[in-house]
């Protein structure tokens, strides 16, 4: 605000990008100022590693039922056993192993949903913003329509009609998250399309495809990256919610939301079957949102402190 002497690195960023390395360094400077974001990146990386190496890390198979160990509490509680670090569920499966394998599902859901909705969103957005006219009108009306429904409700009904399951869950969630990407891309394209650098590319004889994907798109990536991060966490959360309602991944898949649904009837008897899966969801979503906040602060010039 009243800070006349503060160095102002944005001055550089207002000029055409200098070089990839330089840009990344500036980005990292702003990103790493945010301690939460760095913690988020760290936790998220850890989760990715856990997901990748799940079969080697997990002490047991996620589906193996220990008939002699039903609802065994964690070892620090009386009656707990050291081999089941987070206890076991009602049919004697090791909760920790199921959580570790569940990380694969959650991260995969996030990744696939974001890929789906991001790619279609970019296509639609570029098309709408670049073509204008009736294409634009039809596409954007359609997006408004999807946004008129509460997203989880729409996904829920979609899955109910398509049939419960992991694949349909991902399709439904991708569909309800996709309009955000279309809108963002379109508005970014509209802002960019009349800039000098686009005109000069056009004058230089760049084709439509090249203009759309090579010239305009890279310059509206920042808001898309932020939105993709936020959608990643929303997708995980919504998929878990659908799983909890019995419409997402079906048992015995060790998906965290589905695990919670199975555990519901034991909540007053065995708190651990409920606590740990939810904690896993919370930590995952929180770490991604921390990264998202950091990205937004680092990438969005409007919010950058001047």
């Amino acid at each position: 605000m009243t800070d006349p002497a503060a160095p102002n690195p944005r001055v550089n960023a207002d000029h055409p990008p200098v070089g990839r390395g330089e840009r990344f360094r500036e980005f990292w400077y702003y990103f790493s100022v945010n301690r939460g974001a760095v913690i988020g990146v760290f936790v998220f990386s850890l989760l990715v590693l856990v997901a990748i190496f799940a079969p080697w890390i997990a002490p047991h198979s996620p589906t193996q039922q220990f008939r002699d160990a039903l609802l065994v509490p964690p070892p620090w509680i009386e009656g707990g056993r050291a081999e089941f670090l987070f206890g076991t569920d009602a049919v004697g499966r090791d909760i920790l192993s199921r959580l570790i394998h569940g990380a694969r599902y959650s991260l995969l859901i996030g990744a696939i949903v974001v890929t789906l909705s991001l790619s279609t969103g970019i296509m639609f957005g570029l098309l709408a913003g670049y073509a204008r006219g009736w294409v634009d009108t039809v596409l954007m009306r359609l997006m408004d329509l999807i946004l008129a429904f509460p997203s989880l409700l729409l996904a829920l009904v979609l899955v109910a009609i398509l049939g419960p399951g992991l694949v349909n869950t991902m399709i439904a969630i991708a569909l309800v998250l996709q309009p955000h990407f279309t809108r963002l891309t379109r508005s970014a394209v509209l802002a960019e399309v009349n800039r000098e650098y686009v005109t000069s590319a056009r004058v230089a004889g760049a084709g439509h495809m090249r203009l759309m994907f090579r010239t305009i798109l890279p310059n509206c990536l920042a808001p898309l990256i932020v939105q993709a991060t936020l959608s990643f966490s929303t997708a995980i959360l919504d998929a878990a919610a659908l799983g909890f309602l019995g419409l997402g991944a079906q048992p015995p898949t060790p998906e965290w939301g589905t695990m919670l649904a199975e555990a519901r009837q034991f909540i007053l008897r065995a708190w651990w079957v409920v606590t740990f899966p939810g904690l896993a969801i919370l930590i995952t979503v929180l770490s991604i949102n921390l990264v998202g906040d950091g990205l937004r602060d680092a990438l969005d010039p409007k919010l950058k402190r001047s």
Partner: protein, 279 residues
């Protein structure tokens, strides 16, 4: 006893790059019924000194002064509550951006009557009547209906008139005008300046005019302080300043006036180097 007396004022901002001294060891004093102009380029710290006096700087600012007295009362030692009883009443201030300076969510009437209630205890019909008088005083036509207007429904010049009405509402002893005409059209600038000067004479106020416009200074001020990079370069009464400027910076400022242009190029202050003159 001067109306406002400031000695050795320093204001430093705590920034990520360390302390930044916006104002460094400045003395300012104003008598009642006097028009003092503080001149300098943008960034010379001319507003900061006045904002410090009003207690309007953000918390990142450290204000130090040997003396900061208004009518003999120590402004530095004052609690925010005590200061709140003086500013807006005995000292008031108007700013550079009149439209942004008025709250977009409240009517003009509300924003005027609020001061009347706060400092004079006027309410209801009394406040309303006084608000109409004030708008008439600052030359706004049809004041009764104007009171119900929102700032965005008025022009920049009218908004500045409203700001002036708010500032003089409690018959202040000192009015600080921080670049009051910079954001306005040239034709309006003159009207607002004339209004300020006539109000100053009528009410017998002290007026501090912060500006970068030497033309404005020549027209209105009794005495001038020239400021550069947080330091005072020169202080003189207006005639001697224009006729016999002492510091090289002042000379540069004056030579940058359009009527003093030599040849086809107008000199700017950036053509000179004054660093050596800062003590």
């Amino acid at each position: 006893m001067p109306l406002l007396e400031i000695r050795n004022l320093s204001v430093a901002f705590d920034t990520s790059a360390g302390l930044f001294h916006a104002v460094d060891g400045i003395d300012i004093s104003v008598e009642s019924r006097e028009v003092l102009a503080i001149v300098g380029e943008s960034g010379s710290g001319k507003s900061v000194a006045m904002l410090a006096t009003m207690g309007l700087l953000p918390e990142t600012a450290t204000v130090k002064a040997d003396v900061m007295r208004f009518e003999g009362r120590d402004m530095l030692a004052m609690s925010p509550q005590e200061r709140g009883k003086i500013i807006g009443k005995d000292i008031s201030m108007i700013f550079q951006e009149p439209v942004a300076s008025l709250n977009p969510c409240f009517t003009v009437g509300f924003q005027i009557e609020e001061v009347l209630r706060r400092h004079l205890g006027l309410r209801g019909r009394d406040a309303h009547k006084r608000a109409i008088e004030l708008l008439e005083l600052v030359g706004i036509p049809d004041p009764v209906s104007r009171l119900k207007s929102f700032p965005h429904q008025m022009s920049g010049g009218q908004c500045q008139r409203v700001m002036i009405a708010i500032a003089i509402a409690c018959k202040p002893k000192l009015l600080i005008a921080d670049e009051p005409t910079t954001a306005l059209d040239v034709t309006i600038q003159k009207q607002i300046l004339d209004l300020l000067v006539s109000l100053q004479i009528e009410h017998g106020m002290g007026l501090i005019l912060i500006t970068h416009d030497m033309g404005v200074v020549a027209e209105t001020a009794d005495r001038v302080i020239v400021q550069y990079k947080g330091h005072k370069m020169e202080e003189a009464d207006v005639l001697s300043l224009f006729e016999n400027p002492q510091s090289r910076y002042t000379k540069a400022l004056l030579s940058a006036l359009p009527e003093n242009a030599v040849g086809d190029r107008l000199p700017t202050v950036a053509d000179y180097d004054f660093e050596a003159e800062i003590r």
